[in-house]
Symmetry: C2
Subunit: 311 residues, 2 copies
């Protein structure tokens, strides 16, 4: 059993309370506090997994925050507050200063109040080839400005599937460090009621698309030839690399014309690509809850999600 | 500059928003959401620091949650929700099951909804003597049921200082794993308006007392002979060991009689000890913002806080 199945098996064991509007399993949980739908999510970056020993403190801090913001974007929300932890065996205070300064600047840029944190400097000795052991986390809070929360289980039959930006080759192109979370785009989709179903692509298009298929009990048909490829990315890389931090979302067919026009006005610089459609009508033609390509070949049988599972 | 000073220097750089009622620096931050004062805090446990390689998964999970609950208790609040992360290089799935099951049980016991999480299984290789590298975090949410938030900066001249339970020798006695967070006691102090100033003792009495002295701009005079000692603890251990997870709080002199009576009724099994008083009147006799003993000797000059700083 890999981490994906492990956490899928275990998290639902956790009892929820009546104020939990969206339980664990989407990009964020949603909790009703008085009249506000509050978004909550947590994510971590780990040395040797999410960055290399040479990566600047500034880029690590920014990636950590932006990974979390991407989860808020995927719900159509606005980020508000955060708390953070650092556990590291680095000895130089200078690194911590750089990390915090970059985090402070990023929080200001995205209008987020960092309200707490915990720092643990460890003296853990590790082998010489692997000298930095570091785990940094952020828990992000946000709020919805509309009742229309973008959920994985809201895909409808015949919805058209879109993605923002480009896919594949994120790690080697440094996109995984330099990306801009799609907050404005997510808010636009939610507030204008264009979409009801979105998530962010962090573990690779096929795997994340399959999560929508499972949650919405449908088939996602993806036209492999249509995928917007990042520089030096192959179709296969676009399907499975991960770390794209783009949005995948669905739009009802009758809204498409208006949506495409308004998108072009609102986001002239954010690439928008139609990559497929939602199928619910033919449960016997394809097994349910899978991702298929334009020829009907199943893309999602391999359940290997790589290193990280994100809720 | 140690971690304490490092984080003290850096966290206030983080810009706050108007809805932040209590900024970073107390046991929890407090954010106003509609009509609710929401408590937010984060804490972590790290292998080789907070537990030994032999410690049961169950006890690690419980400690992680209870450390966070102790922060909610120190504000006089009620815990409501949490999110968690695990980054570990353990290979056995069984360990993760045990951890999650214990966490699920603990959350149910304390009536907390675990609404999200992230699990990263790492393959980090470390030296043979130090084989588990593991960082687990919880971000805890709570709410106030009264306007009376217990704050470190609310100590008043002539207030009497109390602690719950016993102090010292927490690590070797396993108290650091088996303690019960003082949630009921904190709520009692806040809801009955007995106290306005509390915190939890996690880094040692002197250091935590000094935090009240700095925040409230006063002197804490502690009667060393009065300290309630845990089995096999010396006075010195009670002053500096840490990991007690007891509450230190102050009570106005005119409320003492009623408070002591009501406490005995409410908590017949929670030891209550008067350990000193708040001095604000003699700024020339003692330097300000220090902890002194019954003879006026300054206890808090050594700023060494050990390994962990907690917000």
């Amino acid at each position: 059993m890999n981490e994906n199945n492990l956490i899928k098996f275990l998290i639902p064991k956790m009892a929820q309370s009546n104020d939990v509007i969206v339980p664990p399993g989407d990009d964020c949980a949603v909790v009703k506090i008085d009249n506000t739908n509050v978004l909550m999510a947590v994510d971590q970056v780990i040395s040797t997994v999410h960055y290399t020993p040479e990566t600047d403190a500034k880029l690590i801090a920014e990636k950590l925050l932006k990974r979390n913001l991407s989860d808020i974007a995927a719900m159509g929300g606005v980020p508000t507050h955060a708390v953070m932890t650092i556990a590291s065996n680095r000895s130089a205070n200078e690194w911590y200063y750089q990390f915090y300064q970059a985090m402070a600047n990023s929080c200001q840029k995205f209008n987020i109040a960092m309200v707490g944190g915990d720092l643990a400097k460890s003296t853990a000795k590790v082998s010489e080839n692997d000298c930095i052991i570091e785990v940094c986390t952020i828990t992000i809070y946000g709020k919805m400005t509309t009742e229309n929360i973008l959920l994985r289980n809201n895909a409808q039959a015949n919805d058209i599937i879109f993605v923002t930006g480009k896919l594949g080759n994120s790690f080697h192109s440094n996109h995984h460090l330099t990306f801009t979370p799609r907050l404005k785009e997510g808010l636009f989709l939610a507030e204008n009621n264009f979409s009801k179903c979105a998530m962010d692509i962090s573990d690779g298009l096929i795997l994340d698309a399959k999560r929508i298929a499972v949650a919405s009990n449908c088939v996602l048909q993806i036209d492999e030839k249509s995928l917007p490829l990042r520089k030096e990315a192959s179709t296969q890389m676009a399907l499975t690399d991960g770390e794209d931090y783009e949005l995948i979302f669905t739009i009802s067919p009758h809204k498409i014309t208006k949506f495409v026009t308004k998108w072009a006005q609102a986001f002239p610089h954010t690439e928008l690509t139609k990559i497929g459609k939602i199928i619910k009508e033919q449960p016997k033609k394809y097994p349910n809850k899978v991702v298929i390509n334009e020829n009907g070949a199943i893309l999602s049988e391999n359940d290997n999600i790589g290193f990280i599972h994100r809720d």
